[in-house]
């Protein structure tokens, strides 16, 4: 439920990066699967919190990134498009080390001259 705090910061960062006078049309955000952050909750807060800011009327796109890792036991590379599992599907050991998953980035802004 801290998505509200995160969205407040997201709007602040977007306003800071948008060229002066430009209208913000879209915010492209990427979220790692180990952050525990819910894209749906971000959308909900964004729709409420964008009002009265330079993001008013803008669209929020949140991409959940694939999780990449390797099993420490059998060295099998693992990529997940779902929530994290902690057991290697190849060898059954609980030795999967994730190489990403902590991302929480504003990747791009789509803007237009007002």
């Amino acid at each position: 439920m801290h998505e509200g705090s995160i969205v407040a910061e997201l709007i602040r960062v977007a306003e800071q990066h948008a060229p002066p006078g430009a209208r913000i049309l879209r915010l492209g955000v990427q979220v790692g699967r180990l952050t525990g952050i819910s894209p749906d909750a971000m959308q909900f807060y964004f729709e409420v919190m964008r009002e009265g800011t330079r993001c008013e009327g803008a669209r929020l796109e949140v991409a959940l990134l694939p999780l990449r890792g390797r099993c420490g036991a059998c060295q099998q590379a693992v990529t997940l498009e779902s929530e994290a599992v902690w057991t290697c599907a190849a060898c059954g050991q609980t030795a999967v080390g994730w190489e990403n998953g902590d991302e929480l980035d504003l990747r791009e802004l789509e803007v237009e001259d007002a």
Binding site: M1, V13, H17, P19, L34, G36, W86, D105, L109, E110
Partner: protein
């Protein structure tokens, strides 16, 4: 014409920057800072009370308490004669580095050995916000599910130490300690593990000795 600007900006960069500033102040003052997180009711404040009693005369301590409402916890700590500052978040479900920074003028860092920062009881939200602490300790307890680490992996991954509290209740609750430990190590193989009871005092000496060792390393 619409135009796409590449940004690549960490949304919580400002928090991370303030956390680094906090850390620099802690290091300059030579104080070891321990963050405590858990779900509500695992025993963070009880563990702190017992820990502070054991550290009396061995380390100079202070506490920053984070709660959504009330200064009850800061009062409990102050009753032990230990300086305590309460941060009331007024609804915010976690501490942020800025809140700790704003509380720091009320803490005399110089001459301090260990500063404890007790976060709001919540296994989700505090995981996204570094505060500048040197170690993050997550508490769990035998009255919770063994699979807490699998349900809240972010918090257990971002902690370096797990204190399993309320082990005195093991004869009375259907809690599988080995399973809980396996779940925790699945999520974070490097997690250091302590077992404590704040009622009987079991395991507290090992925990306190570890704190003192870590403190010594950073002196």
């Amino acid at each position: 014409m619409p135009e796409v600007i590449t940004i690549e900006h960490k949304i919580l960069k400002k928090n991370a920057d303030i956390a680094l500033e906090n850390r620099a102040r802690f290091d300059e003052a030579g104080v070891f800072v321990v963050g405590l997180v858990s779900s509500p009711g695992s025993g963070k404040t009880s563990l702190l009370e017992r820990t502070l009693q054991k550290l009396q005369g061995r380390a100079r301590c202070a506490v920053i308490e984070g709660d959504v409402q009330t200064d009850n916890d800061a009062r409990r700590i102050a009753a032990l004669g230990v300086p305590a500052v309460q941060i009331v978040t007024n609804g915010t479900c976690h501490l942020e580095a800025r809140m700790v920074q704003e509380a720091l003028p009320q803490v005399e860092l110089r001459g301090l050995d260990i500063l404890f920062v007790e976060n709001v009881g919540n296994l989700v939200c505090p995981s996204s916000y570094e505060l500048g602490e040197h170690v993050r300790v997550v508490l769990a307890s035998t009255t919770e599910g063994e699979d807490k680490p699998l349900k809240y992996p972010a918090m257990f991954r971002k902690s370096q130490v797990l204190v399993m509290n309320k082990v005195d209740l093991l004869p009375y609750v259907p809690f599988d300690l080995a399973k809980a430990r396996a779940c925790a190590l699945q999520v974070n193989p490097g997690l250091r593990w302590f077992e404590t009871s704040c009622t009987t005092g079991q395991g507290l000496d090992a925990w306190v000795d570890w704190l003192l060792e870590e403190r010594q390393k950073r002196h």
